[in-house]
Each structure stands twice: as structure tokens, then as C-alpha cells.
């Protein structure tokens, strides 16, 4: 039985590898959508505005009556008006795109109706090419520890020193 167990564990670790790599790729793709590098993801805060006139204690007093940028700003010749409930709640209660997609119900549409969820381009047909994670040239080799590609010994050394995540075995 030992050989079989060995095979199993190998398969399991290969699966783990690809899972970890898929997670890493997903994380990277999410990072590429950020508007600012230094921000907790999904935060609706705008630190610049707060430090200006809101004391640290001001946070507790927020909630319904909190000021928004659009409230605070007064434009030349703008009539200040009382917004309707609809507009007010859109301004005050920010929802992430994921929440909006869930609420829109498009996930339950029949497949005959195209939606945001079905319109994504199909997967590529050609095999993907590996690029050196250090210099960007074709990456012939993969790090044994983290599977990131590199192109030669000098880039391998840079990788080991600076970037290797050492997580995937």
C-alpha cells in the first residue's frame, strides 16, 4: 500500500499547489483593480476629508447624520436643495459591486439572457507563456518553492532574495 499512498499525497500536493497559485493570481488581479495602493480593500473612507475637520471622536457621531463630500462642497451658483430619500440613501449607503450584483438578481437569469456575469471573454486557447517575475523576459524556469517563473541564474538570485514567497512546496 505505501506506493499508492505516496501517489495520493503527491496528487494532493499538486492540487494544493494549483490552489495556492490560483489564490495568489486572484489576489494579484484584485490588487490591480485598486484605486490606491495604501487602502484597506473596500473602504469607503476618505482619510483626507476626515482629518480636516473631524476629531477622532467624530467617528462615533457619524451614521445617519454624517457629512458626505457632496454635502460639504458648495459650488458657485448652486442651489442647495433637499435631496429625495432615494438620492439620500444612494449617497449615504455605499454598496460594493458584489452586493449590487447579488441584489440585481442577474445570477438567476435564464442562460438565454446575456448579463454582466455571462459576457466575459472565453478562456484563452493558446497555452500561457511564462514571464520572468524579476525582469519580464521569458521565464524558462520555475522556483521550486513558490512556482514563480524566472529566466536565468541572476534573476533566480534576485527572486530568492526579495520576492520568493516560499509557501508552495
Amino acid at each position: 500500500m505505501p506506493p499508492r499512498r505516496h501517489r495520493q499525497s503527491q496528487a494532493a500536493s499538486a492540487q494544493l499547489d494549483s490552489e495556492v497559485i490560483a489564490k495568489r493570481t486572484k489576489r494579484h488581479l484584485d490588487e490591480l483593480e485598486r484605486s490606491n495602493y495604501a487602502e484597506p480593500s473596500g473602504s469607503a473612507l476618505f482619510p483626507g476629508l476626515e482629518e480636516e475637520d473631524e476629531a477622532p471622536a467624530g467617528r462615533a457621531a457619524k451614521g445617519r447624520a454624517r457629512q458626505t463630500i457632496s454635502d460639504k462642497k458648495e459650488w458657485k451658483g448652486q442651489k442647495k436643495k433637499k435631496s429625495t430619500m432615494n438620492v439620500r440613501s444612494a449617497v449615504l449607503y455605499k454598496k460594493s459591486l458584489q452586493v449590487l450584483i447579488d441584489e440585481s438578481g442577474i445570477a438567476n437569469f435564464p442562460p438565454s439572457i446575456p448579463t454582466y456575469l455571462t459576457a466575459g471573454a472565453p478562456p484563452p486557447r493558446e497555452p500561457s507563456r511564462l514571464l520572468c517575475s524579476v525582469c519580464g523576459y521569458w521565464g524558462k524556469y520555475k522556483c521550486k518553492k513558490c512556482k514563480m517563473p524566472y529566466c536565468d541564474m541572476s534573476c533566480e538570485a534576485v527572486h530568492n532574495e526579495t520576492r520568493c514567497e516560499r509557501r508552495v512546496i
Partner: protein
């Protein structure tokens, strides 16, 4: 309805292109769709005010759009308030009519919020909401004025949030064949930021500067393998490498590409752009280079066309228009052309129509539409909204969603140009097939080939 002021707003996730019909027909006002906070002068700039900002280092951005859809309505309202105010367009919105663009496949719950802002907050007299590509048949991208647009066209819209391939038949988007690649200008700038920060200077907080580096230095390679080898041989000196002189806002120096041979003192910081110049825009053509499991632009166009009625596929290959800021990269259309040729059937002619003004092309087309006498029939009026709410808009603005069944009563199919197509969609649940069949004969009879 009395003739009123008409306003056109192409509401992009990066820049809004806006203007008043009659006053801004030639060129729109370009308004950054963002609220930024400058660390340098500790000031917050909203929308059009951003042009006043001089210190562009470490700007903190708040964008109304997330992945192409409006999620931050506070920020969007701030930018719109400023845009309509006496500081910019200076219009009384309650006396005006509006044409505004929305993203492809906009969510219905978001569309309701558009309606609420436009009628409840700004109290426009009437408005029309549509996607940028749907405006293109009204403009001049494919033809000279007066000749009209082809029956079948495919619009590639590559903007800030993503890249869409949008086939249009007889003026109507064929939604079942619309495809999206999740690569846009925002992702490209962020990717460049990351590469440069790992390889040279930490530019992770310098979105503004890196966007300028991208626009100044990047190009689409027509031979990626060749260019890669050129960059490999001598990374410091080759036919591709370019030096970008980083700005120093404290000295009021802006960034620029260094001209060959120009001497510089040591106070300047240099950014070396080698294979980054083409490997960043390359992602539009090879999304899998960053692990994104989507086909590149050319293959996505081929997929889209393959889902259109066979009889008219040739006309789509022969009428491919390019709009959106990313299509400005040098080499973009040459590369796309060479890849499309290998994918198109041998007997098909492939013709690209790159826009000379890809950022304002949709705005220009919108102006043309808003000036047409029948534009008034497309809009929803404030009175209709007050009576029926967002249902009035759902009924009239033709988009990706099938028209709800209960809407058939009280409909007048002959009233608008799109009446017939809409009627088809109401009959069964699969708009594309039905519409395709209907248009087959028509497309063949009246379609022309562009040379």
C-alpha cells in the same frame, strides 16, 4: 415639449466628456471623474477642479466607479454637482434635457439610481440613457457625414475599466454576442506601477505619474518576441529603451520622456522603460500574461462574430471600429489587424476603423444623435417618471434586458425607430436568435462592404 437646452454627458469611469449642444459640439469639456486628495498641498479636488492641482505626488483617489459600475454615489454626486454648477457648464438642469451614457450590462438596480438622480435631484425635463457603443452608428466613425453607417458594425471600446467588443446590427446592439475582457487603463497603469516599483523606484502611490509614463512611453508591439530579444541584449542601450524623467513637484518640474543625447544634472530621477514599454499594453492582447483566464482582444472579436448570424459575419469583419483611450497606444491597430487576419476566414476582408479621437468619439456621436429631430422620441420625460417611476425608463431605454411581459400593453411599436426590434424581443426569451433571423435578409440586401 418645448425645445430646451440639451446636455450630453459621456460618463466615463476615468474622464467625463460633457457639453452643451450648440456650445460644446466640437470638443467636450473633459472632467476627471474622481475626487482626489493631494498630500502636497493638503487640498481635496473634486472633478473639474483636479486640473487646478499642481502637486501630483501621492494623490489619494476616490473614484465613483468600481470595476466599471458606479458604486460611490456620494463621489459621483460631488463631481456632477460641480460639473453642472456655474463653475463649469453653468446650466439650470431643471430647464434642460440630458443624454447620458451608462456602462454595458448596467445593473437594473443601478439604473434606477441614475433615474433618481436625473429626475429627483437634478430635475431634468427629460433624458435618454444608453451605452457609448450604441451611439457610434449616429456618428462619423465609419463613414463620411451623410453617407450613413453600415448595417453591421463591431465596436471595440477599450476604456479605463475594461474592454468590450460590441456588435451592432441595424443600429441595435446584439447583446448575446457582446464580450468583455477585464483589462482596461486602470489595470494597465497599476501593472506598470508594480513592475517599476519592483524593478526600480517605489511608485506604488504615484498613480498620476505612472499614468503619464504609460501614456508617454507604452506602445503595442507588432512583434513581441522580436522586441523582447531587443530589450534582452542590452537593457541599458537598445532601440526600445526609453528614459522617463520623473517630475519634481517641489521644483515645479513635470515629468517627460528624455530626448536622446540630452544631458541632465544629478538632481533628476530617471525611470528606465525597457520591456515595460510594450509588455504592459500587451495584456489587452494576452490577458493570460497576468493570469487572467480570458482570450485576448483578437480572439474575443472572433468569438463575438462567430455568435452572429452566419450570413452577415463577413460584414462585421469588414466594419470594426476602435474607440476608447487604450486604442491610442501606438501599434494598437496594426497588431490587432495582423492577429485578426489570421483568425478571419480566408475570403473575408478585415477592415479596421480606428478613431482619430477615440476618447471623444462617443461624445461626438451623442451630439449627432441629440441634434436629430427624432431624439425627442427616445427620451423619458419628467412627467412620465413622476407618473410611472423607473418603469418609464425600463420601458423606453432599450438595453440588454428583455422587455418585461407586462409592458406590451400601451406600447406603440411604430413610434420609435427601434420599435420593430423591440417587438421581436417581447415575443420570445431569446432576443439574439430572433433578431438575427430577422436581420439576415435585410443585412444582405442593404449591407455594403467598406474598403
Amino acid at each position: 415639449m418645448k425645445t430646451s437646452l440639451k446636455i450630453v454627458v459621456d460618463n466615463g469611469a476615468y474622464n467625463i466628456k460633457a457639453g452643451i449642444i450648440g456650445a460644446d459640439d466640437g470638443t467636450p469639456r473633459i472632467i476627471p471623474n474622481a475626487v482626489v486628495r493631494s498630500k502636497g498641498d493638503k487640498t481635496t479636488y473634486i472633478g473639474h477642479e483636479i486640473t487646478k492641482c499642481e502637486d501630483h505626488s501621492s494623490l489619494h483617489y476616490r473614484l465613483p466607479f468600481e470595476k466599471g459600475y458606479i458604486t460611490d454615489w456620494d463621489a459621483q454626486k460631488a463631481v456632477w454637482d460641480g460639473m453642472f454648477s456655474a463653475e463649469l457648464l453653468n446650466v439650470d438642469t431643471s430647464e434642460a434635457s440630458l443624454l447620458i451614457t451608462e456602462p454595458y450590462f448596467n445593473l437594473s438596480n443601478l439604473q434606477d439610481i441614475y433615474d433618481q438622480f436625473i429626475f429627483e435631484e437634478y430635475e431634468f425635463q427629460s433624458y435618454y440613457r444608453c451605452t457609448p457603443a450604441s451611439l457610434i452608428p449616429h456618428g462619423n466613425l465609419f463613414t463620411l457625414p451623410d453617407l450613413g453607417s453600415p448595417e453591421c458594425m463591431l465596436v471595440v471600446d477599450s476604456g479605463f475599466s475594461f474592454t468590450h467588443v460590441v456588435p451592432i446590427m441595424n443600429g441595435e446592439i446584439v447583446w448575446s454576442a457582446v464580450k468583455r475582457i477585464d483589462v482596461g487603463g486602470k489595470l494597465l497603469t497599476n501593472q506598470l506601477k508594480e513592475l517599476v516599483s519592483f524593478r526600480q523606484w517605489n511608485m506604488m502611490d504615484e498613480t498620476y505619474i505612472m499614468n503619464d509614463v504609460k501614456e508617454s512611453c507604452c506602445y503595442v508591439s507588432t512583434d513581441c518576441k522580436r522586441d523582447m530579444e531587443i530589450c534582452r541584449t542590452d537593457p541599458k542601450s537598445n532601440a526600445i529603451v526609453q528614459e522617463y524623467i520623473l517630475p519634481d513637484f517641489s521644483l515645479n518640474r513635470s515629468g517627460r520622456v528624455r530626448q536622446p543625447g540630452g544631458s541632465l544634472d544629478e538632481s533628476y530621477q530617471i525611470l528606465c522603460m525597457n520591456n515595460e514599454r510594450f509588455m504592459v499594453p500587451e495584456i489587452i492582447f494576452r490577458p493570460d500574461d497576468i493570469g487572467l483566464e480570458q482570450s485576448g482582444l483578437a480572439a474575443t472579436i472572433a468569438t463575438s462574430i462567430s455568435q452572429l448570424p452566419e450570413e452577415v459575419q463577413g460584414m462585421f469583419w469588414a466594419n470594426i471600429g476602435l474607440i476608447g483611450g487604450n486604442t491610442k497606444f501606438a501599434g494598437f491597430h496594426e497588431r490587432l489587424m495582423s492577429e485578426l487576419r489570421t483568425l478571419a476566414p480566408g475570403d473575408c476582408e478585415v477592415v479596421l476603423y480606428p478613431s482619430n479621437e477615440p476618447i471623444t468619439e462617443a461624445y461626438q456621436s451623442a451630439v449627432a444623435l441629440a441634434k436629430r429631430p427624432d431624439f425627442a422620441q427616445r427620451v423619458v420625460t419628467r412627467a412620465e417618471y413622476l407618473e410611472m417611476g423607473s418603469n418609464a425608463c425600463r420601458r423606453k431605454f432599450h438595453d440588454w434586458k428583455p422587455i418585461e411581459k407586462d409592458l406590451s400593453k400601451g406600447r406603440d411599436p411604430g413610434k420609435t425607430k427601434t420599435g420593430r426590434a423591440r417587438e421581436d424581443e417581447e415575443d420570445d426569451g431569446s432576443p439574439s436568435v430572433k433578431r438575427g433571423t430577422r436581420a439576415k435578409g435585410k443585412g444582405r440586401a442593404t449591407g455594403r462592404r467598406q474598403v
